[in-house]
Each structure stands twice: as structure tokens, then as C-alpha cells.
């Protein structure tokens, strides 16, 4: 027990200061922080929906809750139910089996709600395009506010996308 706590103490903070990719994004971020305060009160609950992804995006998404990126410092946290959520984070091309669950999840989310589609597959279906198992991109099923590009996108890109979606409201 003592060794655990001494290791915690020796390691110190590992959270990196949030560094957006370029100066443009930085300006957007500053504008957002003022506006999100009015809209969602600096508290954003996210429900992650895997609509048929290869799980590459999920690994990056789980990265943003880890110590390095620590999304909770911005008041962003993941929840277990769409009823608790303000934002849906959808990954992957929408498969036939996930079309109805995705639509139902969207309906179960209370207003005001946002949708961020993460990864190239969510926009273009990626390597799965044309498959008999695929319905199409995420925006053919539910309205999408922001797409985050990348295969898979980095945690920084996902965070920037989330903040950009807040700005669109």
C-alpha cells in the first residue's frame, strides 16, 4: 500500500497541457469556452456509440479519458446511458444491425444534443464502402454536427472536434 502511494507521489501530474494543432483552432477554443458556459454549463456528458467500427477509434477515444489527455479537466465525461448524455460520439460505418439501435439512441438522448462522428469510416465508410453489411455513413442515419477525420484520429483531434461541435450551437 505504501509503495503504491509513494509511486503516485513520485510520478506527479502526467496530464499534458492541451495544445491544439494550430493557432486557428486556439482562437476557436477561446471563443467556445465563453459560449459553452451558457449552453451546457461547462459540463458535457458523452455517450460513445460504436455503429460498426474496427475499434481503432475506440482505442483513441479511451485515450482522452486517460491521464495524458484527461478530458475531465474540461468537464467532459463519458456516461453509461444516452439519457444522461449531451453528445453522441459515433464511430465506424453504420452496419445494418446497428442502424436501428443508433436511431433509437439518438431519440433517447434529451435535447439539447450534439452528434460528433469520429473517424474516416463515419464519413466515407472507409474500406467497408460497398459492403452488403453497411447501410452508409453516419449522416445517412442521424444528423451529424461535426466529422473528425483520421484513421484513427488522434485524441487531440477528437477533443478539438468535440469542442468545435459545441461551437456550432
Amino acid at each position: 500500500m505504501a509503495s503504491l502511494f509513494s509511486k503516485i507521489f513520485r510520478t506527479g501530474l502526467v496530464t499534458e497541457p492541451f495544445s491544439p494543432v494550430d493557432a486557428d483552432v486556439e482562437r476557436v477554443l477561446e471563443a467556445i469556452s465563453a459560449r459553452t458556459r451558457n449552453l451546457l454549463g461547462r459540463a458535457l456528458a458523452i455517450r460513445e456509440v460504436d455503429a460498426g467500427s474496427c475499434n481503432g477509434c475506440e482505442i483513441e477515444i479511451s485515450g482522452i479519458t486517460g491521464p495524458t489527455y484527461d478530458a475531465s479537466q474540461f468537464g467532459i465525461h463519458f456516461v453509461a446511458s444516452p439519457r444522461h448524455a449531451d453528445m453522441l460520439l459515433v464511430t465506424g460505418p453504420v452496419t445494418r444491425n446497428m442502424e436501428l439501435p443508433l436511431r433509437k439512441t439518438y431519440e433517447a438522448t434529451p435535447d439539447p444534443k450534439l452528434v460528433v462522428a469520429v473517424g474516416d469510416c463515419a464519413r466515407t465508410c472507409g474500406v467497408f464502402a460497398g459492403s452488403y453489411a453497411i447501410v452508409g455513413s453516419v449522416d445517412t442515419v442521424i444528423p451529424v454536427d461535426v466529422f473528425v477525420d483520421g484513421c484513427p484520429p488522434t485524441p487531440t483531434a477528437i477533443l478539438t472536434g468535440i469542442l468545435a461541435a459545441l461551437d456550432r450551437r
Binding site: I8, R42, G75, H77, A80, S81, H84, D86, P110
Partner: protein
Amino acid sequence: MTDYLLQLINVALVLAVSPALVGLIRWLKARMQNRRGAPIWQPYFELRKLFGKEVVVSDTASWVFRATPYIVFASTLAVALLVPLVRIPVPVALGSDLIVVVYLLLLGTFFLALAGLDTGSPFGGMGSSREMTVAALAEPTIALAIFSLAVGAGSTDLGRIVAETLNAPTTVAAPGHLLGFAALFIVMLAETGRLPVDNPSTHLELTMIHEAMILEYSGRYLALIEWASGMKLFIFLSLLANLYVPWGIATSNDPAGLAVGLLALLGKVVVLGCAIAALETRLAKLRLFRVPELLSVSFVLALLAVTSSFVVR
């Protein structure tokens, strides 16, 4: 009259401070995971946001689902009115009785379990059955642990128990006292849904207890339930503090004494909050089938506490 007014201020205090306690524990845990973490006042932002959101209710939900958040919130507020927090004695007419307090808390749990079943979602029913299992094992222990103090004080009135302990400071080191504290601490972890019984930050439906029952709630209903569970945590911690380490609590209505009482209460609750955060960093969640073992340990501790209170007296 002032007695009653001051007791109402207790309620305002619990309402105002409990989200910060939840935030403090989360922040401490984040620091112990080497994360930066959300500020301590984050739960206030979350509550404000939830009150402004739409409420989505399933078609299959009945009145139980809609009434439960108000019942849970009101019963917790009623408990806040009854327990000795900043000052003693609690006005007798309010009936600050141990048994009333224990069963008012159980009333909220009972309705929460009904609401979990109400919408017919599989996770809700699972959460309800688990919560009832834990409650059935934990409830007698709370009563028994505090009974060991009641035996010494000769009364089940919580204010009287605190006053008796203040009068006879040596009883704090009595075996009945120490065993009772250990028993009540374990039960507090179970009742307020902390590790190792339930994980308050879990996203896995299969491991949830408290969270599984409230999966269907949204908007202001969710806010009321979250706020009530924060208040329950605050009440449990202040009961632990005031019953077992009563020093600092105000015994009259003089303002300086009340200020000391308030600071002492907050200080003791913060220390217990730190203990919870350290414990949750160290402990893994117990397998569900091992929870009854932990709770029977706490029951045995409580039983020994009562026995030793009789013998030592």
C-alpha cells in the same frame, strides 16, 4: 423557535455543500491517478446543466418513475433536518430518532429500486435486485452500530447520543465505540455506492448497482437523484463524524460556537472524504458474491460493539 430555524439552516448547508464533497472526492481521486482532474465545483455545473435539459421518459414508465426523484430528494432532505450536524440538541419535536433516520434513508432506496424495475429495462431490474440485496444486509448493521452508542446514552435520540459522548470523552476509546465506527464505515461505503461495493465512476452496465437503477433518468429527474445521493454521502459522513468524534459541535445557539461547530463539521467531513478517495485508489471492486461477506463482517463488528457496550457499561 431559533432551534427550529437553525435546524433548517442544517438543511440548507447539506444542500449547498454536498455537491462540493462529491467534487472533492473526484478531484482527489484524479490527482491520485496522476490526472489534472475537474475542479471541485464541477458537480454544481453538472446539476445546473441537468436542470436545464429536456426530460425523456420511456412510454412504459408509470407514475412511480416520475414520483421517485421527488421522493428520494424529499426523504434525504428530511433526514438532513433530523440529524445533528452543527449543533445539539436537535429539537425534540422533530424526532431525531435513530430508527426514523435509518428508515427514511431506506424509503428513498426502496423507491429507487421500484423505479429501476418500472421501465422494464434489463439493467434497471438488475440494479434494483442488487441494491435490495446490499440494502437488506446493510440496513440492520447501521441500526445495530448506532444502537451500541444508544445503549451507553440510554436513548435512541441522535442528539442525546452525541451529548452523552461529549459528556464522557473517555468512551471514545471504548471497544464498543471503535468497533461501531468500523462497522458503520463499511456500511457507509455500501449504502452510498462507493468502492469496494459499487463503483461510482463505472460505465460498465454489468458491474453497476446504484447507477444501473438510474440509467433511464434524464434532465431534472437525474439532477434530483444525483443531488440526493451526494446529500446522502454528506449525511453519512457527518453522522460518522458527529457520533464517534463529536468534538467541536455547538451545544448552544451562540454565534461563535456555531461557527466553530460548522468548521469542525466541514473539517471532519473533508478528512473522511480524503479517506474514501485514498481507499478507492487502493481497492478494486469486490465481486458481487463477495459483498455479502464484507457486509457480514461489518454486521459482526456491530454486534460485538453492542455486546461490549453492555458488558463495559
